[in-house]
């Protein structure tokens, strides 16, 4: 049973071999780590996680219509 739909946006090197954007259908009780596992992204490589634009950590639970942005370490200025 599908309980929630989440939009996942990937950036920089995470786009290599993956899509830029996924709409994932996830069971209830899914967290950010569930998404990272599905996309074969190691937690330690996901340097910046933004859940609806706010800083999130991998254990944060997801809810329907959440937007998750995942970045490798990036910088500039």
């Amino acid at each position: 049973m599908i309980d929630l739909k989440v939009e996942v946006r990937l950036f920089a090197t995470f786009r290599e071999g993956r899509e830029k954007k996924y709409i994932l259908e996830l069971p209830e009780e899914s967290n950010i780590l569930t998404v990272l596992d599905m996309l074969k992204i190691k937690e330690e490589d996901a340097s910046i996680l933004l859940l609806n634009g706010r800083d999130g950590d991998a254990k944060r639970m997801l809810k329907d219509a959440d937007v998750l942005a995942v970045f490798p370490p990036v910088g500039g200025g």
């Binding site: 920089a12 340097s47 910046i48 933004l50 800083d55 490798p72 370490p73 990036v74 910088g75 200025g77």
Partner: protein, 610 residues
């Protein structure tokens, strides 16, 4: 002499005299070099109340002790003068290869005085220094000027020059080198133009002396390895350039859109680092001895190859003006380089003009003769206005002195996204509080890079801070400000902070110059430099009231996007007094006597009337 060359070149353009003076080594070490030594030298010789475009203003161009030394990113130079844009001290930094070449020619610093009767350029080749007629290159674009001078002096010669914008005294004009590198901010190009100086050609055959060559090699190798292994310095920046920030800043909801009317756009990816790499990148375009190589070399759709935009330029010339055609933004960036315009101020001023037009303050009849619109997203207009700003032509003549003067002329200075009349950069401080304090207090006016709080607040370097939090940010920002003053003064790139920390800079300085510094003393030198710049500004007439942000950012909460929230204005009222306090300044931002003593600035007690 190690690290330093030991010679200062003084060129008086009024009488044509050229003097080689011994470097005051004690002063150099106290103020490190480049930015610190340049500001100190400037203050020793010029009254901060000088008219910036008069012949009494001086233009100082200097490398640091590590500029030209065999250490990672050791190639940067800085320009110090009184800014005609802001009226503050100008401290503009550039990479490329020219700075190292100045040291190879044997000079730590050039002091340019007076004003030439007609356009000239300076040719420096080791001991040979000559003032030459620039009639042939005056009016030429930056690439044309560079090609002409390289044709005369050989391909090894490095060319620093102004474009038409500097000649036309645009207050947002830059000093360019290697065509696409810019000492961009503060209108330093106009100071050079006001002296009738078009270019400085430089080549040298010397090496920077090393106190301990073996140790320098070992230290340099160690620091280079740290940078190469760092995921940002060793992978993110080389792959995407600083443009990789477009998406992350936008996803955080602090990506200013349409002159900061909004802080998020669903179109950002069209002008992102990922798109730039995929569609335009030809190769990396690194500065001297840089293992990072964030610089871009790109190919436009018409086949033209040129330097590519960095993050701030993609924002100012793109999103801030509602332009998301990457070829147009790339072209706009190239044109800014050719005319010698600061990309941040140029784009942000077009954005301000577009908002003035949107609000009905600029009328159609005022721009009709130019044949260009001020509609949001008009690509053709963007490219046209850049040229007209560069040439001070038509309505571009009103825009070329920056958004503050433009908006003020229409009775709406609050629409200018500036601090001290200089355009702030590509981060909305309502959603990133520490960056806002840097904007407000930066000694050169609105500036993001002299204390880049985006690193901890967004990117997690050296640790992740809550971007909305206010507590502790003032003290954190002070350390960043002091450390940046150190890095600038050494002659290194601030991007080394993605990997290196204070002890690494101490290691490099000590290996090259000789055992002189520890962590505390080097950071204190940064504090001394920052405070000295502040003293300049106070003497020039700036007060606490100038350490502020545009009204929109202090009063109007972000309404849409990830950073929306009714509390999300910038909390400068809390941060500014804290900042003054951690600096040892009084409630008006004037350094206390005991602070001056602790920093070795006793000579400035009584310098500012309280």
């Amino acid at each position: 002499m190690y690290g330093y060359c030991g010679t200062v070149l003084r060129v008086n353009l009024t009488d044509g005299s050229i003097k080689k003076e011994a470097l005051d080594v004690e002063k150099a070490k106290k103020y490190i070099g480049s930015r610190g030594l340049g500001v100190k030298t400037f203050m020793d010789e010029v009254d901060p109340r000088v008219d910036a475009l008069s012949k009494e203003n001086k233009l100082i161009i200097a490398g640091g002790p590590l500029t030209g030394a065999p250490v990672p990113t050791g190639g940067r130079y800085m320009v110090m003068t009184k800014s005609p844009l802001t009226g503050t001290i100008a401290i503009a930094n550039s990479g490329g290869k020219w700075g190292a070449e100045l040291k190879f020619a044997g000079y730590d610093m050039i002091i340019l005085e007076g004003k030439a009767e007609k356009p000239v350029y300076l040719n420096i080749s080791d001991d040979t220094v000559e003032i030459k007629d620039a009639g042939e290159i005056w009016g030429k674009l930056v690439s044309e000027t560079t090609a002409n001078l390289k044709g005369k002096y050989g391909d090894k010669a490095k060319v620093l020059c102004i474009g038409p914008a500097g000649e036309n005294l645009s207050l947002m004009s830059a000093i360019m080198n290697e065509v696409d590198r810019a000492a961009g901010r503060g209108g330093v190009g106009a100071v050079m133009g006001s002296k009738n100086l078009k270019a400085i050609v430089t080549q040298g055959t010397n090496k920077v002396g090393l106190f301990d060559a073996e140790k320098t090699k070992a230290v340099s190798g160690e620091k280079t390895n740290i940078l190469m292994k760092d995921p940002v310095a060793g992978n993110g920046l080389p792959t995407y350039g600083s443009a990789v920030l477009v998406n992350i800043i936008n996803e955080n909801g602090i990506f200013p859109y349409k002159n900061f009317q909004k802080s998020y756009t669903d179109q950002a990816d069209k002008i992102s680092g990922e798109s730039l790499t995929e569609r335009y990148l030809v190769r990396k375009n690194p500065c001297y001895r840089c293992p990072i190589g964030c610089g871009r070399w790109i190919k436009l759709q018409d086949g033209t190859e040129c330097g590519g935009p960095e993050y701030e330029s993609l924002w100012s010339l793109g999103a801030d003006c509602d332009i998301f055609d990457l070829d147009v933004v790339d072209t706009a960036n190239m044109l800014c380089n050719e005319y010698g315009l600061d990309t941040i101020s140029a784009g942000s001023t077009v954005a301000a003009a577009m908002e003035l037009y949107q609000k009905g303050l600029i009328k159609d009849e005022e721009i009709k003769a130019d044949g260009l619109s001020l509609n949001w997203g008009d690509s053709e207009a963007m490219l046209g206005w850049i040229k007209k700003m560069g040439l001070r032509e038509g309505f571009g003549g009103k825009m070329t002195d920056g958004s503050y003067r433009l908006c003020d002329a229409y009775g709406a200075p609050e629409l200018s996204m500036t601090v001290k009349k200089q355009e702030i950069a590509a981060y909305d401080p309502r959603g990133v509080q520490g960056q806002g304090i840097t904007y407000a207090v930066s000694n050169r006016g609105g500036c993001h890079i002299k204390g880049y709080m985006i690193s901890p607040e967004i990117l997690g370097y050296p640790e992740k801070l809550d971007k909305f939090a206010v507590d502790g940010k003032a003290a954190y920002a002070k350390v960043f400000h002091d450390l940046t003053a150190v890095i600038d003064s050494l002659g290194l790139c601030v991007f080394t902070t993605f990997g290196l920390g204070l002890p690494d800079y101490v290691d490099m300085y000590n290996a090259v110059v000789g055992e002189e510094h520890d962590n505390e003393s080097l950071l204190r030198a940064g504090d001394r430099i920052w405070t000295l710049e502040k003293l300049f500004n106070l003497k020039a007439g700036f007060t606490k009231a100038d350490d502020t942000l545009p009204k929109r950012l202090l009063e109007d909460p972000i309404e849409e996007g990830p950073s929306a929230g009714e509390k999300n204005v910038h909390h400068l009222d809390v941060l500014l007094p804290e900042y003054y306090s951690v600096r040892g300044w009084d409630e008006n931002g004037i350094p206390k006597d005991e602070t001056l003593k602790a920093l070795g600035l006793e000579e400035y007690i009584g310098y500012v009337v309280k």
